[in-house]
Symmetry: C2
Subunit: 416 residues, 2 copies
Amino acid sequence: MNDVTLNIGKQARTAARTLALASTSQKNAALKAMAKHIRAQAAAIQSANDMDVAGAITKDLKSSFIDRLTLNAVRIEAMAQGLEDIAALDDPVGRVQEKWKRPNGMEISRVSVPIGVIGIIYESRPNVTADAGGLCLKSGNAAILRGGSDGFATSQLIVAALQQGLADGDLDPNSIQMVQTTSRDAVGEMLSGLNGTIDLIIPRGGKSLVARVNENARVPVFSHLEGICHVYVDKAADLEMAKSIVLNSKMRRTGVCGSAETILIDRAKISNLAPIISTLINAGCEVRGDKETMAANPAVKPASEEDWSTEYLDSIVSMRVVDGVDAAIAHITKYGSQHTDSIVTEDQATAEHFLNDLDSAIVLHNASTQFADGGEFGFGAEIGIATGKMHARGPVGVNQLTTFKYQIRGNGQIRP
Amino acid sequence: MNDVTLNIGKQARTAARTLALASTSQKNAALKAMAKHIRAQAAAIQSANDMDVAGAITKDLKSSFIDRLTLNAVRIEAMAQGLEDIAALDDPVGRVQEKWKRPNGMEISRVSVPIGVIGIIYESRPNVTADAGGLCLKSGNAAILRGGSDGFATSQLIVAALQQGLADGDLDPNSIQMVQTTSRDAVGEMLSGLNGTIDLIIPRGGKSLVARVNENARVPVFSHLEGICHVYVDKAADLEMAKSIVLNSKMRRTGVCGSAETILIDRAKISNLAPIISTLINAGCEVRGDKETMAANPAVKPASEEDWSTEYLDSIVSMRVVDGVDAAIAHITKYGSQHTDSIVTEDQATAEHFLNDLDSAIVLHNASTQFADGGEFGFGAEIGIATGKMHARGPVGVNQLTTFKYQIRGNGQIRP
């Protein structure tokens, strides 16, 4: 293993120990100072970013990639503001989650503590550097950042600003480090846990990056591979509400993981089918459907078996008729990704059946799947969405970046 | 992969879906029926066990191994009683852990749900078969059990009794299955996740078993490799309390993971050293110490560097003098296993410093390390102790065998 990378791991572990004990005001002062330094160094960050973007253009990379890489005055200010927003959040560390007394008089408290050292592997999106660094700091964790090589110069200056903020707050600048090498080996080393110094990996990026991380990580990972989200329109749905929720779930933003990819319509009220298809098509969405959906509108294209498990991340939706809520649940269980699914119905019992039976991280009744977002949950900010069964599920905010320990207070108790 | 084992995985996944929706009374009825069948088949279980024990004796296995394998009337009744105790616990599934309303009127609830399918890999201890099966059932999880081959015949009959109980409660008998092969390949297949059908592995057994599971599992694991637990006797300790807690922490039972392996004495009250050493030696404990400890009592043997990181699981303890609470924390951080550590002091501020700064799953003030136990926490029963940072930390009871999902109730909310 690369000595430089290994050393980053050791430094992070040392920083994590002091960070776990840092006071709320110290962490918040550092976050505010980070925002100040981002603003003060905006011009230098912009020049570095211009260079990174120019490099990416000569490589003929996709325009969506270039867009995510590109900073401007508004986006730089948004990074600074984001850090101040994180400062305004409640401290997630030291919360007494539960407390109880045992018959022998011992008092047991379950108290939130930081996880330790978190590795974040992401694509060439400079704003993730500030977001991830800020969220890890607030939750008392040391961060090891490894962004995409095309945004390296930009991220380097952002990390420098974050480290100046740490120093201003009397915190160890190694609390937020960037892996200096641009080689792909660094990713492999991080996935192996950097010799036991990394406690958790969070990947931020497309499916291929997340898949690589999930397959190769030897430490826990918070991730979602894809968001194949569904809206089921029950026979007892209010049609206007259904149209509004389907349209918003699919089309508000098509590139986010919480956007709907499949719409299921209850056969018992098949008259809902045509107006919902029209709503989508009028909004510029391609609809791919089963026989019934195709019969309802000539613009509908045939859906293949593959469509039901495809995350389009685009203005395309698959649609099919199902025999009631149980068939909807069966479809979602077979083709979904346990991310976010919604039912539209005025029937309370059917709604509860859907909310209880479906094994997804987020299940909604009469609301848009696009609410799958830490900010919309009131978490303030999120580092991603997790679909695993362990620890964090759904939006990963600062509280989800903590673990806990039991503190037991006694007065001499021994065990019989 | 072995078709038979793969099929067990598929059957478990199917059972898990129905089990997640089983009512509390249905699960409790099954648990009580299981206890009934264990009692009714006690004679057959005993004969099978006699056979297993005879086989192990011909292999000349260790007496502690034979002891753990051996059943008798009292132990069979304890298994049945254990299942009834699990029935009496509150249902951990469906608990609303948190609930809040968003400004747009949406109500978000975080509700506990089962994890899914849990694989338990354990040594030849027949009682683990009933305990693990019962705890998984209560928490709505399907269990795939793989016990040591030397207890195979016994475990097979116990599983048959559990499955009869499941059938009596109208639950899928495949909710608790045993891997039928006695080959070690089955373990490897379980560690790979049985083609995505296993969500979590829990190893129960010695260090080599746990190490193998930790190294090779491709799914999350709840485990602790070892319990190198400490008692720190601060200068402000009450000496009588310190003697009592040190003695109990080390000697109540030396073979459990929560037993103390190292005692740290504050140099500022070095007069505590001699009486604490005597207490241990008088109880039949071998003491290995640093220079100061050796100087305090001629019976003390020299401790090597290796002693500080050794889990004796025997009547042996290592002991050293440290310069106050921070040196104690530094020693524990360097040599401990983040399991369970205790401070004895009458100084509240020092106690809080120890409880807050030490990164162990369980930290105690003025109480014995042997309280590291789910029953002692009031969890009713535990399937083990976890020292990882993810999800479950400390005793793993039925609540720790659940995860959660977010249920969101709206009335047509869409995202702006």
